[in-house]
């Protein structure tokens, strides 16, 4: 069965800045890549308006026109619920910390019911997978006591059930294993893999040095 992969703009931007969007084209033979309207605006409308990163809209528009990326509307009542719950989970001085925005909530709503979320930025990933660690991070970095509302967290987690998260690094890893990388990047295979992973890291994919080294050990 073909799986649905909901893409966040952070991953698409990391891949685009590293000339790796052809990997998405290749992998679209096995899965459906989807984006929300907000992500569409972030990767196409806004860069066109601001004049920065103008190559991005040209590349992404082609992917959409060719059916590689599909634009889907998320369930708006689910989006509102997710937004309200996530932004009332962490508190300082009894005031909630608004940590995510509509774009993240839409991606999550679209991926709910066992979808795959492709996201390179860290916060949404932590919120879904490691909410206590996110509280520790907020506390450590804001120098304020941060508490977590357990009932909000549990209600939020219901929307995350079955969702699996991958990053652009996993796209590269699978492309390496399937022999796709070598079609687009010439060089000794292990060196190409390492270069691709380090490049993703340097363009903002939330990979630590340890993550990259672990990948290089895991992939034969």
């Amino acid at each position: 069965m073909r799986r649905k992969v909901v893409c966040d703009s952070s991953s698409l931007i990391s891949l685009s800045m590293n000339c790796m969007l052809p990997l998405i084209v290749e992998l679209s033979e096995s899965a459906d890549f989807m984006i929300t309207k907000t992500v569409y605006d972030e990767i196409i409308t806004n860069p066109r308006r601001s004049g920065h990163h103008m190559m991005g809209p040209l590349q992404f528009s082609a992917l959409i026109k060719n059916g590689i990326l599909q634009v889907e509307q998320a369930n708006q009542s689910m989006v509102s619920d997710i937004l309200s719950l996530s932004n009332r989970t962490y508190y300082t001085h009894h005031a909630p910390l608004e940590i995510i925005q509509r774009g993240e909530a839409e991606a999550l709503a679209l991926a709910s019911n066992s979808g795959i979320l492709l996201v390179d930025e860290r916060t949404l990933r932590f919120l879904i997978e490691a909410p206590k660690q996110l509280r520790d991070l907020l506390q450590f970095r804001t120098h304020h006591g941060v508490s977590m509302d357990e009932s909000m967290r549990r209600a939020f987690q219901r929307y995350c059930e079955g969702i699996k998260i991958i990053r652009s690094s996993e796209i590269v890893a699978v492309a390496y294993e399937k022999g796709i990388l070598e079609k687009y990047f010439l060089g000794e295979a292990r060196e190409v893999l390492a270069t691709c992973l380090w490049s993703l890291k340097s363009k903002g994919c939330s990979l630590s040095t340890e993550d990259v080294e672990e990948y290089l050990k895991m992939l034969k």
Binding site: R3, I13, M17, A31, E42, I100, E121, T142, I171
Partner: protein
């Protein structure tokens, strides 16, 4: 909790003394407070103080007219008593003064406020806010924030033990 008036007083003193490091510290304190309470004037304070610290620390800005700093401290003084709308209005005047100076004297296409927005958005992201939320709060371009973050050590703070699981998921999906 740090009051905006305290931050403004500290900023006036730092500008008078041409103390770039003090302005950086005030900017960081304003941002930390803004992260918690989300007030626009604190964000603006963080941005203008950071931009002013950059202006004070660059050699090619050393020759700029002293009147510039006089105008800045005047606007800080007008911003101090409030109310909030007045504070915001005068901080925005400072933002405009900085942008105009940078248009005239700057060496880069981007102005120093845009650089401050990227830097401060990356700081908010580092604190645990999402990339979108951090960009929205500061007005930064999220693409440029992502690039900035990539060149930093922000992602060295990791969640443990998920790489093998993620790889397995990717193999299942695309296998």
């Amino acid at each position: 909790m740090v009051e905006i008036q305290t931050l403004i007083d500290q900023s006036i003193e730092a500008v008078d003394k041409k103390d770039a490091l003090a302005l950086r510290t005030i900017s960081a304190n304003a941002l930390t407070e803004a992260a918690v309470v989300g007030h626009r004037e604190l964000i603006l304070m963080a941005l203008v103080d950071y931009a002013l610290s950059k202006i004070l620390s660059k050699i090619h800005y050393q020759e700029i007219d002293e009147k510039f700093y006089g105008k800045i401290t005047d606007e800080f003084k007008k911003a101090r008593p409030g109310p909030k709308e007045e504070t915001l209005k005068h901080l925005e005047v400072i933002e405009d003064l900085v942008i105009k100076l940078d248009e005239k004297e700057g060496r880069f296409e981007d102005n120093v406020i845009e650089k401050a927005q990227i830097k401060k958005a990356a700081n908010l992201y580092e604190k645990g806010f999402s990339l979108r939320r951090a960009s929205e709060m500061t007005g930064a371009d999220p693409v440029r924030v992502l690039e900035y973050v990539g060149g930093s050590k922000i992602h060295e703070f990791r969640s443990p033990g998920k790489n093998a699981e993620r790889l397995e998921t990717a193999r299942e999906v695309f296998g």
